[in-house]
Amino acid sequence: MRNKKENEMEELVKLLSETIEGVDFENEERLMTDKVISSIDLTEIIAEIEDHYDIEIDMEYMVPENFESAKAMLNMIEELQD
């Protein structure tokens, strides 16, 4: 049985892959450090996440650590949903 977290992760990876093509969001852990995504990609990702999860990502959350991997993004989303 898949747990809730795995389902949420799958949903997020699907959303990210549809937003930015050609990036391995499932395994990539240094999206920002290795400049896998550009600042333009990042603003698109932010817009999609805000739309999909109905949350607002304040500037204080816009730090590289929160966007390094899908896992980091999911943790940020959960924190904002609380």
């Binding site: 400049k35 550009s38 600042s39 333009i40 990042l42 603003t43 698109e44 932010i46 817009a47 805000e50 739309d51 990502i57 304040d58 500037m59 204080e60 816009m62 730090v63």
Partner: protein, 556 residues
């Protein structure tokens, strides 16, 4: 060497101008004193010695500048403290038991409103001073014209407006700190003098890099060591910077000035050569200065951030600006581009376009405003004339083209079966990046948009290209001899070789070139260091009569 020459050299370098430009003997004398003071000072108090030295460095330029930097740092320090305390109080209030979701929301909104008011007030004061000192002199002309046409005899003088040393750099650094505290990225500083040192630290006050407080501030807070390894590594970087500036930049500058000084009579090929040499000039001038700044700082045991990372190896113009003047690009990205691109109005426009159009149109709509605003402001940062606004918009346009037609470029390379990972394609990308950059320089370097237009016309004019001027000796009539061109050619070849070796080291993660050199035997290292010193002494452009007055990016 004649004694008159030596006297002239010393007189020129010691007393010409008040600012201690890195290429003056005055600065070298100051550096020796700074290293002695730093080394003999107890380790615990070394930061205070750096503060004292930095204030002295600033005051030697002019004591009149000091109140401006003190005003900005005091305002930002107090505002950041007040905002930080507001967040601390909010955290404490939120920990209270029995709070409902609504009351928590109300508490957050109240704290945010208070912090926002403090932020706006501080930004108004500090950016107000920056705008007043930078922009007023450009308004004096139109104001005087308007007064004259209105029959008033009163006029304003631009000469009375003081532009404090490094105002753009320290204002941007400290404003970045304030915004970071406002966005809760890190804690506020409690010691004003520590904060003042971060703003006024002498290796970076003249031309940056625009450092972040959580990096440079923390490095200056750590125990500062004076070590032989740091001294040697910093010294090597310093020499490399002098080589770029004195041997290459200042030599090619003679040719460029001579060509653009008589732009209306030049052959097309001469203007093309000047434009190519101008790319070499600005890179060697600015990155050379950064090497000197970083080298000096490393000697003092403090690492400064990298400001150049071989920008001409970039694939496109976006990447170029991530590798050229990185601290300024990073500042605009974090404090202008992201806040604008994630602001409500940009999101609204993007959503509305997506509803009525395609995803692609929505992407362009979401990007165009932040890119244009960021580049307009970047242009204004570099200068307030029309040329710099045109320069900013030129890059905004180039970046928008690159984003908009990304899919078409990709399809085109696939259609022609071009291997985009091949060395030849990378070479083409580098040349394309250089050409775009040269186009941008051509907008600002001649001095006005009219002069730029004349230069372009002379290149494109039928029969005016005159390529034979490359070989008939005409190029040696612009202040540079055959020997000078040989020096430029060999120096640029050395520069490219070093850059390629550094780039390879980065890609393969085998460490920096200096780290690899440190592993070589001592004779080889000393031969290299002395070779560099002799190259600077023999081929450097300096001496009596030569005005090594400033670096290109010092005027900002």
């Amino acid at each position: 060497m004649q004694s008159g020459y030596v006297n002239g050299l010393f007189k020129d370098f010691f007393w010409k101008g008040k600012i201690m430009v890195f290429t003056t003997l005055r600065f070298l004398a100051f550096l020796v004193c700074a290293l002695v003071v730093f080394a003999i000072c107890p380790r615990k108090h070394r930061w205070l010695s750096l503060l004292g030295l930095s204030i002295a460095f600033y005051c030697i330029a002019s004591v009149k500048y000091l109140p401006y930097i003190l005003f900005t740092t005091v305002v930002i320090f107090l505002a950041a403290r007040a905002i930080g305390k507001t967040w601390e109080k909010l955290d404490a209030d939120l920990k209270a038991e029995g709070l409902t979701k609504e009351s928590k929301k109300a508490l957050k909104a109240k704290a945010k409103s208070k912090a926002k008011k403090i932020l706006i007030f501080a930004l108004f004061l500090t950016l107000g001073v920056l705008c007043y000192t930078k922009f007023t002199k450009f308004l004096v002309g139109p104001i005087n014209k308007a007064l004259k046409s209105a029959g008033s005899g009163k006029t304003f003088s631009a000469a009375s407006i003081l532009v404090p040393l490094g105002i753009s750099y320290y204002t941007f650094s400290t404003v970045g700190y304030l915004l970071d505290v406002y966005w809760k990225r890190y804690k506020y500083e409690t010691n004003y003098f520590r904060f003042l040192l971060y703003a006024i630290y002498f290796p970076h006050i003249l031309q940056g890099p625009i450092e972040r407080y959580n990096r440079l501030g923390q490095r200056l807070k750590a125990e500062l060591f004076f070590t032989w390894d740091n001294f040697i590594a910093g010294g090597q970087l310093l020499l490399w910077g002098y080589f770029k500036k004195l041997v290459i930049a200042d030599r090619v500058d003679i040719f460029i000035n001579s060509v653009y000084g008589d732009y209306s009579h030049q052959a097309g090929i001469t203007i093309i050569i000047a434009a190519i040499l101008d790319v070499i000039y600005i890179y060697c001038d600015f990155s050379g200065c950064m090497d000197i700044a970083r080298g000096v700082s490393q000697m003092l045991g403090v690492e400064l951030d990298l400001n150049f990372n071989h920008p001409f190896f970039s694939k496109n113009v976006q990447e170029f600006w991530r590798r050229w003047h990185m601290s300024l690009g990073g500042w605009f990205k974090d404090y202008v581009y992201f806040p604008v691109s994630t602001s409500g109005w940009v999101k609204k426009i993007s959503k509305s376009v997506r509803k009525h159009g395609s995803d692609r149109a929505s992407k362009i709509a979401a990007t165009i405003f932040p890119v244009v605003i960021t580049w307009f402001l970047t242009g204004l940062w570099h200068g307030t004339g029309k040329t710099y606004i045109a320069w900013g918009l030129y890059y905004g346009f180039m970046i928008m083209c690159s984003i908009t037609f990304e899919t078409e470029f990709k399809k085109l390379t696939e259609f022609f079966k071009i291997n985009t990972k091949s060395a030849s394609f990378r070479f083409y990308q580098s040349i394309k990046t250089c050409c775009i950059f040269a186009g941008g320089r051509l907008l600002t370097r001649p001095g006005s948009l009219y002069k730029t237009a004349v230069c372009c016309r002379r290149v494109l004019m039928r029969g005016n290209l005159r390529p034979w001027k490359l070989t008939d000796g005409s190029l040696f009539t612009y202040g540079l001899t055959y020997k000078d061109f040989n020096v430029i050619f060999i120096s640029v070849a050395i520069l490219i070789t070093v850059s390629v070796l550094q780039e390879i080291g980065q890609v393969r993660e085998t460490g920096t070139l200096r780290e690899r050199l440190a592993k070589e035997n001592i004779i080889f290292r000393w031969v290299l260091s002395f070779g560099l010193i002799f190259a600077i002494l023999i081929f450097g452009i300096y001496g009596p009569g030569y005005d090594s007055s400033s670096f290109a990016y010092m005027e900002y």
